[in-house]
Structure formats: C-alpha cells, structure tokens
Subunit: 322 residues, 4 copies
C-alpha cells in the first residue's frame, strides 16, 4: 500500500477528528502517503483532495465536527458519479480508502467496491449508534453526554416547579440515544421506535406517577422522522391530563461540541487499526468493537442486519422507572 485516501461522509460526529488524526499518524509511521478527501463523496467526485501530514492533524483531537467536512452526494448514488470518483482515485494513485460514516456511507462504499478494485475499509462514525457490527460508534458517547447535561438542567427547574417536560433527542429509526440518556438522566418516561407507547398509555402512566406524589416528570422522546413532533405530543398530553407541559428539542446541539474522552479514544483506536487492517489486506468490511474487542464485519451487514437495543439496558430502564 502506497497511498491511502480518507473521507468523512453523512452526518458529522464528535470524535471523527481524533480518528482522522490517528489514521494519518499511523500511515506516516508506516511510510504510507495519506490524503484527505474533502466533503465526502461530493469532494471525491470533484477531486477536492488535500495532502495530510503530522501538522495537518496537530491540535484537532478535541475539536467537534470534521476537518475534512462532509456532505450527502446524490451524484455518487449514480453509476456516472462513481465512475468519476474511481477515475479520480486512479489518477491520484490512491490504493486504499477509509470511509468514516454511517449506513449511507457504507452503501456507497459497497457500490464503489463492486466497480473498482481499490480496497475499502469503513469506520463507524454516527451519533445514532444504529450500526450493526459494533457496540459503539464514534460520536454516540458524546451525544448522550450532551443530552444528559440538558436533562440535568431541566431537572433543576423541574424541582422548583410542578411541570411536565418533554426532551426530544436524536434518533431516526432507533432509540439508542433516547434509551441511554433516559437511564443516565433519570427520566420518568421514554418514547422510542422500538418500544412505542400511545398517548393514552403515556397519560395513564404520568397520571399514576403524579397521583403517587411526584410533582414533575421528564419524558425523553426520540425524534424519529418527525423532528419537533414533541410539541404536538405535549399539547395532546396537556389537554388530556391538564398538567402544564414544556418542550425542548435538542436537535443538532447533540451533534457538536468537543468529543468525550471515550469517543476520542475509540476514534483513535479505529483510525490506527483501519490503516493497519488495510495493509493486511482487509477490504469491504467495517471495523467495530464488540464486547471490548476489535472486530471486522462485512459492509453490507451493517445495514442488512439490525442491531437491537441492549437488552440489559431495556430491563434496567424499566426497573429504574417503575
């Protein structure tokens, strides 16, 4: 291997910079050239490529976002788009590619793999943690730490008032963030796609809780594909149980901020190992950590197989909120 290209694609996640930094330093130590492809697949198609050396990744380990920027590229979803991309990769002499991102990123990677012979390795970077093949993705720990800080703040005011709070956190199809921050934040109720609860049931549970003497309650809600839907939900609940409701929608706050220690270390480990794995012949797989051990999973499994919510945390949540 002589020259590795690295890109970040899809939604950015805290820890991606630590990952890029570790990949660059490992490659240079191994005497491999490494270049950064800017703005994900869009930048690849456009040939927006920069060389990376030790100083390029100096003082970035603590930064949120990604220094390589990211985008979603409809053009890359076409054969023509990928054709351009492969031409660029050939022209640049890139003989190894590292993709940091989520499902969409890896789908693109699999198509690229079919149409070229350049070895590709994926690194799971998404705050949602919804990728099969790894217990944790880069950015997840930062996102739940961000969310619990918000919940902690609401707790202060919840104790002073008699109120019902809805906190909407990220999570498109999955409740990983919501589940984890409901436990860590000590929330009373949880609404996630994997374990739906209708408004009547939610009202019944809240009323029972208030009847038992609780003065306030925090409901953690996964945003699903309807960001802002907590406002409607809160109005419904308020109408039904006549308890003043307040809403907070965290949105992209959860995506930013300085990465947590865990995400920096996980990102660094993934970045270093990905470079080594490419050299050892890895291709078409995604690195991950399963039960504390680094593992490699075929790229298509990351979206074909569904990663279930941790069963022990689901049980723990029920136990803590009863």
């Amino acid at each position: 291997m002589k020259k590795i290209g690295i890109l970040t694609s899809g939604g950015d996640a805290p820890g991606m910079n630590a990952c890029i930094r570790a990949a660059v330093r490992t490659a240079l130590l191994d005497n491999i050239e490494i270049v950064g492809i800017r703005r994900g697949y869009s930048g690849l198609i456009a040939g927006d490529i920069i060389s990376l050396d030790r100083s390029s990744v100096h003082n970035i380990v603590h930064l949120g976002g990604t220094i390589l920027e990211t985008s979603r590229s409809p053009e890359f979803m076409t054969v023509e788009g990928r054709r351009k991309a492969i031409d660029i990769l050939k022209r640049e002499g890139i003989d190894g590619l590292i993709l940091i991102g989520g499902n969409g990123t890896f789908r693109g990677g699999v198509e690229l793999s079919k149409e070229s012979d350049i070895p590709i390795i994926g690194i799971p970077g998404t705050i949602d943690n919804d990728l099969y093949g790894t217990d944790y993705t880069i950015g997840f720990d930062s996102a739940i730490n961000c969310a619990i800080q918000a919940i902690d703040r609401i707790r202060d005011t919840a104790q002073s008032h008699e109120r019902l709070f809805f906190v909407e956190v990220m999570g498109h199809h999955t409740g990983f963030i919501a589940l984890n921050c409901s436990i860590a934040g000590g929330a009373e109720e949880l609404l996630i796609p994997e374990d739906p609860m209708d408004t009547d049931e939610l009202c019944r549970r809240l009323s029972a809780s208030f009847a038992r003497g609780k003065k306030s309650a925090i409901v953690v809600v996964a945003e699903t594909d309807k960001p802002g839907w907590s406002f409607h939900l809160a109005r419904d609940v308020q109408d039904k149980i006549a308890y003043e409701s307040k809403v907070c929608v965290l949105g992209h706050i959860q995506r930013g901020g300085s990465p947590s220690a865990r995400d920096r270390i996980l990102g660094s480990l993934f970045g270093a190992r990905a470079v080594r794995a490419l050299q050892k012949g890895a291709d078409g797989c995604v690195i991950g950590v399963i039960h504390g051990v680094i593992q490699y999973t075929p790229m298509p499994d990351t979206w074909k197989k569904k990663k279930p919510l941790h069963q022990d945390l689901m049980e723990l949540r029920v136990l803590l909120s009863e």
Copy 2:
C-alpha cells in the same frame, strides 16, 4: 426589624439560591430571624414556612433552581387570597418581606403592600432580564451562557455541512437573551420582538449571505409567546430559498444549570443589600444595579416602564453581522 420572610416566585432563575444564602447570612449576622416561605405566594397562603439558619444555606451557592421552590398563584391575585397571606404574616410575626422574582411577583407585592403595613422589598430574579430598574437580573448571565454553548455546538456541525440553523431561545416579550447570545455566539441573523423582520426579508438576507460565499448560517429566534414557532419559520424559509434547515428549541434548558459566577455574585450582593435596606426603612421598592451602582426603584416602575434593549449592543450586532 425582628423577623424577615423570604420567598421566590414566578419562574426560577440560576443564582436565586446564592441570593437566599446571602440574605440569610446577613440577617443572622444582624441578629434578625429569617424564615423561608416555600412555593411562592401559594406557600405563603398555605403557611408553608420553614426556619432558616446558616446550615440551611450551606452548600447551595452553586445550585440551579431555588431551594424554596416557586409557583404561580392565581389565589394570590384575589383579595381573599392576600387576606389569608397577610394573616399568616401577622401570625408568624414577620415584619419584613423579601420577594425574589419578576413582574408578576412584584405586581402581587404591590397589592400586598396596599393591604398591609409590612415593609416589602423586591429582588429582580428572572432569566429574561426584562425588568425596568436594573441593568441585570439574577439568572440572565447564566441563561445567555447556556445559550451560547448550544450555539457553539451547532457551529461545529455548521462548519462541516452546508446548512441553515434556527436556534430558539427564551424571551417572551423581549429580546435581551436573543440579542446578547446572537452577539456572543456570532449568529448571522436575529429575530426579536423589538426589531421584527418578516420571512421574505430574512430569506433575502440569507440568500445574499450564501451568495457571498457563506456555507451555513445560524439564526437566533426569541420564542415570544409561541414556543416552537421556529419549526414553522424554518419550513417557510426552506420552501422559499431551498436550503436545508434544522431547528433547535432550547426551552427550559436555559433556566437550569449551575449559575454563572456573575449571577452568584449579583445574587449575593442583592440578597445582602436587601436585608440591610429593609432595616433602613426601604419599602415597596426593587433593588437593582444601574451602571454598576446599587439603586432602588419603586415597584410599579418595574412593569410600567419599559427597559429598552441596550442601544450599544443593537448597534454592535448590526456591525458584526453586516
């Protein structure tokens, strides 16, 4: 003066506990008994009163919310309600009353003053900073610090993507929080009640900014009396200028959290001075800080007169966003 009562009313604000602590310590040092009236005017009517000593206020200076809790009391808005309150105050031998809160709190205080002869002093505690008679209210500095941390986090992701972000901050009738955090957060646009901008004008400005090369923009929006309205606004703007929009509604996150240094110091200063002012005969006024100096303003002025946004900050914002 032999016995002072202290209560917090209306919305809670970070720094109220520092204020309570300073009032208690000053009273005790001056050999005055001091009691806490819990849950604002509701607790006063119900006679929910606790004695306060040095240990009651130990280790609270850093806590958000208020250890005395707060509420809104419709009953206190009636003559009968206030009659009960005055009976309780007489029965308890309270001959001085400290009210920590905002407009609503002081309106109640003025009515109470008319119907009793107990000296009353107000302390401005509200994150909104919308009180005439003081440049700063307890909680305002903490609220804007909370809001800029959210904006900073969004900035990370804004730099990685091409996007338009709406951050809805608190501010019912006034834009103090929004104005200050748009300057401190480096936001591109600002929507406040004092300086309204219609959607077309906002779109025009954003389009011009993107045309000049900016890739992303952050719009700070005061929630006014329609919390969540940013979702509608974002949809309108996205429809008009075809730029992907994301929304974050901070809500009560801004109300909680550990108070900033400034709010702790301001709260402590107000608490200590209010006790001393009561002893010197102050009655029916609100303490405040104007141009760095402690001042006393007649209670009715705090809502009859309108505090304008700082003119120099309005000019500064225009200058920085041009």
Copy 3:
C-alpha cells in the same frame, strides 16, 4: 433476603449515587428492605444507619460525591471494630451487604466475611480504575473527561505561547487516568509508574520535539504518592532545556463533578445487578464488567492480582506521540 445494607467507603467517585439509586429501586421492586450505612465503615461501627425508599434516591443520579458519605476507618481494621460492626448488622437484621469502593473497602469486606456469615458483595467504585476484576470502575470515565477538559483549556494557551506544560493527574500506583487522558487529550509526553522515564530522557525527547518545530508541549504526569511533585520536575526540566514551564495540579477536581453518562449507566447496572446477585446467593465477590459482560470476581483477587494497563492503548499512545 429480607434487608440489605449499602455503604460507600474510601474515596468517593462520580456515579456512586446512580449506583445507590439503582440498588435501592431494585431492592424495593423485589420487596427487600434496604438501608444506607452512612460514612462507610465508621458509620457502620457507630450504627449511623438510615432507611432508604424511592424518594431518598429521587434526583440524585446526576450528583457527584455520595449521599451516604464516606470515610476511612482505622477502627474497622481491628478485630474489635469489626466486632462492633457485626453486632450492629445483626441488631439491624441486615442479611446482605453491598460495599461500594476500592481495594481498602474490599480488604475490610473480606475480614468481615471471615468473622460473620452475612453475605457481602462488592461494587468497584474508584476513579483510579486500578481494580482487578473489571475493565472499568465507577468514576473512571468521569475523571478522564474532567482531565481532558483541563488539557483542552491548556491547549488554547499553549497554541498562543511557546511553552511547556505539566498536567498532574490522579493515579497513586497506576497510570490508568494518565494514559487515557494523554491519548484523549493529545498530550506529547506521559509519565506513569508502569513505564517510568527519567528526567534526562524526558528532556531529550522534548528537545527533539522542539527541534522538529513544535512550539509547545503538554506532559501528563501521574501524581503517584507525591502529589505536587510536578513542580519539582518542571523546575528540573526548565533548568536543563531552558524552556519556560508551567504546572497545573488537578487534584480532587477529578473526583467531583456530575458523573458522565457512562458512569451513571455503569453505576446503575452494577447497583441493580448486585442486589439480584445477593438474592441468588453471591457472597465474597466483586461485580465487574469484562469485555462488555458482567462478571463476578473473588474479593481478594481484586488486590492480589494486578490489572495491567490496556496493551492496545499503550501501543496507541506510542504511535500517536511519535
């Protein structure tokens, strides 16, 4: 099992309250009485015991420290002291004991086990992470997050100046905190007991780094048994390589603060499982998480066996700092 006692002992660690809360809620759900023994073994000997119900552990999940307080008890190290403790346990009808703490706590627990027939289970709670039998202890993740925030702040000023910074972090006999925060904080050099480096070698490495063009460097130092020794080290280095040196000693800052999401979840999981394990007959063991799975280790192993630093992180650090 009818009545469980729970105590925290030794140094406090963020996440202990989440652990207590989960233990209490699980016990109550299982219809077991649970009491809190205050101030560790000292409180046990003194019979300082409080009953715990759901409301006792309401709103504590986010608090640093431990609501049960802690202490070190020389008296418990004597047979007489433990005799008193056992009498108290018998008198109270406690037939199951949960000990949250570190090495010293478990040594006491083993002695207690030998002299009584009360089942005992340990939960690893120490920021140092230096316990065999678990990959992570409660408090470790919070401590490294605290330390990297300090390093990040120093990084700001390091970039503005030409300077050498020493950051002394906790770690008596082990370098877990120092190793993890040197990776996550992007520190240039690391001084830990497991991998000592003499001052000459440190100076040589720093000089080489400055010669290569670096303007500043951050050295992470484990405090070992000489808190504050970084001041001496910094003076030595400054004398030798004539580079202005600054020192920061984090000390007990790392022990406090609101626990990280991970420590809250880990603490909750340990607390709930410990109660269940006691019911199933566990005795004389410490709960832990090894490779993502809950495991039980005989108490004496936790200090007789030495937990090595993670080998993959040691390698990663070398790679990142070369």
Copy 4:
C-alpha cells in the same frame, strides 16, 4: 486613517478573538484596511504581519487563546528593538495601532508612542483584571467561571469526606480572581496579597469553624509570585491543626477554554469602539468600561494608578464567611 495594525501581547485571555473579530469587521465596514501582527511585539519587530478580512475572523468568536498568538519580547524593551518596529510600521503604511494586552503591553506602547507619531490605542485583555481604567478586563469573567467550576467539583468530594482543600488560583499581585471566586464558589477562607493572613491566624479560623461543626473547608489562595506555594501552606496547616489537607493548583487552566458570554460581548464592544476611537483621533489611551460606560484612560495611568479591589465585594465576602 487608512490601515490599522492589531496585535495581542503578554498573557493570552479568552475573549481576545472576539475582540479581534469586532475590530476587523468594524474597520472593513469603515473602509479601513486592517492587518494582524502575529506574536505581539516579537512579530512586529520581525515583520510577521498578515492581512485580515471577514473570512479571517469567521468562526473565531468562541475560541480561547488568540489567533494572532502572543509573546513577551525583551527586544522591544530596547530602543533598537522599537526602532525596527517603527520601521516596519512605516514600511507597511500602518497609521493606527491597536494593542490588546495588559500592563507590560501598554508600557511598551507608551515607549513606542514617544518614539513615533503613529496613533496607538490599548484594549485591556488579561484574566487578572489588575488594570486601572476599567472595571473589567477581557478574560476575567471567563477565568472566574473556570475557577468556580473547579471549586464546585471539590465541593462534591468535600461533602463526602472530612477534609480541608486549598485551591490556588491565578493572581500575581492582586486578588481579583481569588476574591470573586471565593464569593461565587462559597469558599470558607481567602488568601490574597491585598489582605494577607498568616498561617497561625488561618489555622485559628479553620479550627474555630471545625469546632462549630463544619466538616470541611475550602481555602482559595492567590498564587502571587510563587506558583505552587499552596503545597507548602497546606503542609504547614496540616501539621498545626491535624486536619487532612488536599491541594489543587489551577494554573493555566484558567487562561484557556471558550470565553464566557460576557467576555465575548465586552471584547466585541472594545474591538469595535477602539477602531472608531482611532478614527476620531484617540491616541495613547486605553479603552475601558467604568460603571457600565465606555471610558478612555491615559496609558500610563493603567500601571501608575492602582485599581483597588471592589470594596463592596470585600465586605460581602466577610459577611458571607462569618
């Protein structure tokens, strides 16, 4: 005025970037060219000058440190050094100079003024707040917020244990930081140059406090010119009153980190006004805010006159700690 130069000198302070940003934007709006002189006076002598446009100061308002970097320049203290500097300024056509820094910076500025006819204006940027001519300097509010967060963390552990904590904060000749954070942090004792207390008196006060039932105490100590001296002090006190003592030395942690809202706004205001003042003919003065109003003070006054600690805060502290 056609071309303004701006530099940061001495210790960096959070909020300097907000100040630079506002100066640049104001100058550009006023059709004045503006250049950044890197590394303070050293960079000026070396001609290390960069042009600044709107994009140079994009996304820096929230960053700690200074994008222009800073240094201390012995050479500038010589006539020859300043001669070179003046030549550079002439060569570059700089006809207005903005100096952001503290005492040392302004001393240099006054010498430069004597030897050239280039108008110079100073902006007070130092975390120590020890400058006559302004109630607040850029960076002070961030520094005390940093320090109280450290104290809050120690409070968690102080409540769990029986211990005495020494927290050493910045402050060379003055106790501004120490005084403010002792009030805001609720510290028991305070050691500052303006109000010295010998070890015997400190021991007497601490013993009296413990005798009254307090279990722990936090002593805030200004570092003075002996950083790390708290370790010696703590040992002395521990020897005398036999109470376990722990030390934390914040050091440069206080200098870094993202600036507080107040420092960003103050910095922005100073930056914008300095540009306007230069255009109106200001020369040889330092901008400041006194009792909420922008004021200009002759540069030499900033070090010849001593700014006293706020008297009301000194009184407040005594009152709160009695």
